[in-house]
């Protein structure tokens, strides 16, 4: 089995399609969507449509803070994000909003745990961006492999000796052995809005049988996605990202 881990898609259809095509070419057999399917981007309905089709075929989908905010019409901190939430609600039908509301906060399958933010208290949307917070999340998950998003930066936290966690910045395309004997917390990065001054979409592939994890960066037509965002009158939040 080869799992495709996709997080923080943020209604970016071009980026999602690019990652799905990349994953298919790599032989992915199952998909996991780690939350924040919408928010910021211009194609929430199309993105939800694709992900629901995958869910019907057995994909795991968990809820992110933007999805929860769209479902409840509140709950994001910044003004710009709130504008995006209002806009997203205005273009989605009631059924899609209800589907977002119905998503679970976490999913666990044997040795794997999927959550948008920290497994410690998922609804608190804590950023897993330090080894200490990764350790907290891994302990709450209680499994060897925890996968999350929320932080728009690909990182692999791992348990070194004496239970201490260490952060590692993965190199895209390198298959990393992630043995079950220790605990790992992988932040998959963001499909729709990476924030590392590199516009290529980020996702990861995990082979539980071979115990190997590969982070990927997939270039796509990010200018087209950015044009749609501006044309929709959405807040232009991309000055601090790699978007033009």
């Amino acid at each position: 089995m080869l799992l495709a881990l996709l997080s923080d898609i943020h209604a970016n259809l071009e980026a999602l399609e690019a990652c799905l095509a990349h994953a298919e070419a790599a032989g992915a057999t199952r998909h996991v969507f780690l939350g924040d399917l919408v928010g910021y981007g211009a194609d929430p309905a199309a993105v939800i449509g694709i992900i629901r089709r995958h869910a019907a075929r057995g994909a795991v989908v968990v809820q992110g803070n933007h999805d929860a905010a769209v479902a409840r019409s509140s709950g994001v901190s910044s003004e710009g994000a709130l504008d995006a939430v209002r806009w997203t609600r205005s273009v989605l039908d009631a059924e899609a909003i209800a589907w977002l509301a119905s998503l679970p906060l976490q999913a666990r399958e044997k040795d794997l745990f999927f959550v948008h933010a920290s497994a410690a208290v998922p609804q608190r949307w804590e950023y897993v961006d330090t080894p200490a917070l990764a350790k907290k999340s891994a302990e709450a998950a209680g499994v060897p492999w925890t996968f999350c998003g929320h932080v728009h930066r690909q990182t692999l936290f791992f348990e070194a000796t004496r239970g201490r966690m260490t952060a590692f910045n993965p190199v895209p395309g390198v298959s990393i052995p992630v043995r079950k004997a220790r605990r790992w917390v992988a932040v998959a990065g963001s499909v729709g809005q990476p924030r590392e001054r590199n516009p290529a979409a980020a996702y990861a592939l995990f082979d539980p049988g071979k115990e190997r994890l590969t982070f990927h960066r997939v270039p796509y037509d990010h200018l087209a996605a950015a044009r749609k965002v501006r044309a929709a009158g959405l807040p232009d939040l991309f000055r601090w990202s790699a978007w033009p």
């Binding site: 348990e159 070194a160 000796t161 260490t166 590692f168 990393i176 052995p177 043995r179 079950k180 004997a181």
Partner: protein, 482 residues
């Protein structure tokens, strides 16, 4: 971490483990047991490394096993043992790899102190192996004579990557202050402070090995206390020539530069160490070469103060990018100094050197041997001096400091193969040379030095072409007077 439930039993001869038939144990160490195995029809002998981590066994062996299983398959080249297979960690952990044929450097050390020439030859082979490893974004982190095997042809192979570091994989030893047994005399100061992943740490360890080969002594002894271990953060070792008068100034310069306490004062690349060891006449001698005693009380006192009071935390990790100090070799035809291509080659060289002040330039001129029956060695020596002078004058406009420049006159009949061989032996990263003149016949490229070098070089080749100038129109003929 989940404790491993399966304790590994000793294997007995005749046992089959996956594809491999186990023969006798070759070595029983603290970290694991090595067995001779056969299977898979490899063209080289195999050994199986089985880690020991039953209760009471050192925990490092598991970390070392995982580290080696992660890094070794990612390495290639003749300076590392070839990886064949790895067992499942949860079921039966083992590594099967090439059993490197040759002699351990540890056993060669019985001959220490060795003559300077032999120290340099072995040292250069180890430096070349290190360079090959560093180019693959890895650092050995546990270089010692036990972990070097010299093949019969003199090439060095590095073994045991249980403490190694690789830029592309998580470092299981991160923030750990753990060293393998027997490594303490060879550890760099920054490793003692917990810094991993700096290729210059391997260069320090190489310095310790060179020192040991040249003098038969360890520069910092075999410390068994924390204070003793930290001594190398501030203390100078006795200059090798003090212990062994046969140590040449050039060799002492190389050894002491490798052993500089601050990483930024050492060589930036193992290729540069190899180059200096292979070309002692090109080593720029500093105060290190002349040193006859350890640094003055004042110097050592200042360093002691710095080591004890200032950096209680590890120093900031300002590591050079791996392989960021390339060696550029330019072929200069000093026999035809007036050649129209020379300015273009000089300009191409200047452009490349301007990219970084870490680049090192090696200028080579290949000249044909003087006709037989001449004045022999004397004639050759005069020829050498003459072309050396021309080379020096060719490089003068570049204004390079001596540390970044070396000049070589090679006497050979076949220029292309001489250049290729020189580049290979000296770990050159890029060769710059001129294309044949466009005006030459169509077959000129096929027969040129440039084509021979481009076809056979181990590295990239930059061929400088001079655009053909349009033929000058004939002087206008004044109209005949009417």
């Amino acid at each position: 971490m989940t404790p491993l439930s399966t304790a590994v039993e000793r294997l007995s001869p005749g046992e089959q483990v996956d594809d491999f038939l186990v023969w006798e144990p070759i070595h029983i160490g603290a970290q694991g047991i090595l067995y001779r195995v056969t299977g898979r029809n490899t063209p080289f002998p195999l050994l199986m490394k089985v880690p020991r981590f039953q209760t009471g066994e050192p925990a490092e062996s598991l970390l070392s096993y995982e580290t080696e299983a992660m890094i070794l398959p990612a390495l290639s080249g003749s300076h590392v043992p070839r990886f064949v297979a790895a067992g499942d960690l949860s079921r039966m952990p083992y590594l099967v790899l090439e059993q490197v044929q040759g002699r351990s450097l540890e056993s060669c050390l019985e001959e220490a102190p060795m003559p300077a020439g032999k120290v340099a030859a072995i040292g250069a082979a180890v430096a070349e192996a290190l360079h090959s490893l560093h180019r693959q974004e890895a650092v050995h982190c546990d270089l010692k004579p036990d972990n070097v095997i010299l093949r019969p042809d003199g090439e060095a192979v590095l073994i045991d990557f249980g403490f190694a570091w690789h830029a592309r994989f998580p470092d299981l030893f991160a923030e750990e202050e753990r060293f393998s047994a027997g490594s303490v005399p060879y550890l760099s100061p920054e490793q003692i402070l917990g810094v991993r992943g700096d290729p210059r740490s391997d260069i320090f360890s190489l310095g310790v090995i060179l020192y040991e080969m040249a003098t038969g002594e360890l520069p910092f002894g075999m410390p068994n206390s924390r204070g003793g271990l930290r001594q190398r953060l501030w203390d100078d070792p006795d200059p090798p020539s003090l212990l062994e008068p046969g140590v040449t100034p050039a060799l002492q310069e190389v050894i002491l530069r490798c052993l500089e306490p601050q990483a930024e004062n050492r060589y930036r690349s193992a290729a540069h160490v190899a180059f200096d060891l292979r070309n002692p006449q090109q080593v720029v001698l500093t105060e290190r070469a002349r040193r006859l005693r350890t640094g003055g009380l004042l110097t050592r006192g200042r360093r002691w103060w710095q080591a004890h009071v200032k950096p209680l935390a590890p120093p900031p990790q300002v590591k050079p990018a791996l392989h960021a100090a390339p060696v550029i070799m330019v072929a200069v035809d000093t026999t035809h100094a007036e050649d129209e291509r020379q300015p273009a080659i000089l300009q191409a060289t200047r452009n490349m050197l301007s990219l970084s002040d870490e680049y090192r330039l090696v200028c080579v001129s290949v000249v044909s041997a003087p006709p037989l029956g001449g004045s022999g060695a004397e004639g050759e020596s005069a020829l050498h001096v003459e072309h050396m002078t021309r080379l020096r004058s060719w490089t003068a406009p570049l204004g390079l400091p001596l540390q970044r420049l070396s000049l070589h006159v090679v006497v050979a009949g076949d220029a292309a193969s001489a250049l290729v061989e020189f580049a290979r032996r000296n770990q050159v990263d890029l060769i710059v040379l001129g294309a044949p003149r466009p005006r030459q016949q169509p077959l000129a490229w096929m027969r040129s030095v440039a084509s021979g070098v481009t076809a056979n070089a181990h590295c990239s080749v930059h061929v400088v072409r001079v655009p053909e100038r349009p033929p000058q129109p004939p002087d206008p003929v004044p109209p005949p007077p009417r």
